[in-house]
C-alpha cells in the first residue's frame, strides 16, 4: 500500500512570507497528525485530526499556524507569517483509528528553512 505522502520535500522562504504544506495520508486512515521537529529535538505534535474534526490543537501557534482536513482525507498546514524559529521539519502521520492500538505511519516530512 502507498505510504503517507508529503509535499514539498524542501522549502526556503523569507521571514514574514507564507507557506503551505500538503499531506495525503494512507487510504482509509481516519486519524492524521502534524508534528514539528526542530533540529536536535524530537517531534512535537501541532495538531491531531479525527476524520475532518480537530482532536487536539493545544500546541498549535494559532496566531500564525492553521491546518485543515477537508473531507477527512488530505490535509494542509499553513504558516503566515513565518518566523525564523519556524525552521524545522514538518512531519505528517496517519493511523487507521485513534489510539495506539494501531500503528502511526509517518511521511518523509517537509524541511522548512526561514531566512
Amino acid at each position: 500500500e502507498a505510504g503517507v505522502a508529503q509535499s514539498p520535500r524542501y522549502k526556503i522562504i523569507e521571514k514574514r512570507q507564507s507557506v503551505a504544506f500538503w499531506c495525503n495520508p494512507i487510504s482509509g486512515h481516519a486519524t492524521l497528525y502534524w508534528y514539528q521537529q526542530i533540529l536536535g529535538q524530537g517531534p512535537k505534535l501541532l495538531i491531531q485530526f479525527q476524520n475532518n474534526g480537530v482532536v487536539d490543537d493545544s500546541q498549535l501557534p494559532k496566531d500564525r499556524f492553521s491546518a485543515e482536513r477537508l473531507k477527512g482525507v488530505d490535509s494542509t498546514l499553513k504558516i503566515q507569517p513565518a518566523k525564523l524559529e519556524d525552521s524545522a521539519v514538518y512531519l505528517c502521520a496517519s493511523s487507521l483509528t485513534p489510539g495506539m492500538n494501531t500503528e502511526a505511519f509517518f511521511g518523509q516530512g517537509t524541511r522548512l528553512t526561514v531566512v
Binding site: T31, Y33, Y35, G40, Q41, G42, P43, K44, L45, Q48, V55, D56, V89, L91, A93, P98, G99, M100, E103, A104, F106, G107, Q108, G109, R111
Partner: protein, 116 residues
Amino acid sequence: AQTVTQSQPEMSVQEAETVTLSCTYDTSESDYYLFWYKQPPSRQMILVIRQEAYKQQNATENRFSVNFQKAAKSFSLKISDSQLGDAAMYFCAYAGSNFGNEKLTFGTGTRLTIIP
C-alpha cells in the same frame, strides 16, 4: 504532562555487537504505550518496537528487544548483532491510551553510529 528523557545524545557500536539505548519517562497514568522509532537521514520515522504498559512481558522484534521496568519508568532498547543499516537517530516515545491523549511525546533522540 508526560515527559520522555533520553540521556545519551550519541552512541556507537561495532558491527555485530550489542548496544543498549536508554529511555526514562514520567507519567501519572497507569495504562499507556511506549515506542522506539528509528529516523534515518531520509527523515521518515519508522516504528522499531512497541510495548503496552499492561503487559509484563518485554517486547521483541527480531534483533530488537526492550527492557521495560514500569515501576522505575524505564524503557531501554537493545539491538543485537548490530548492522550498518541500523545507523540512525533513535527516538523513544510515549502515548496515552485514552481518546484525545494518543499523541506521541518524543524524547530528544540518540544518534547511533555503527563502526564497520
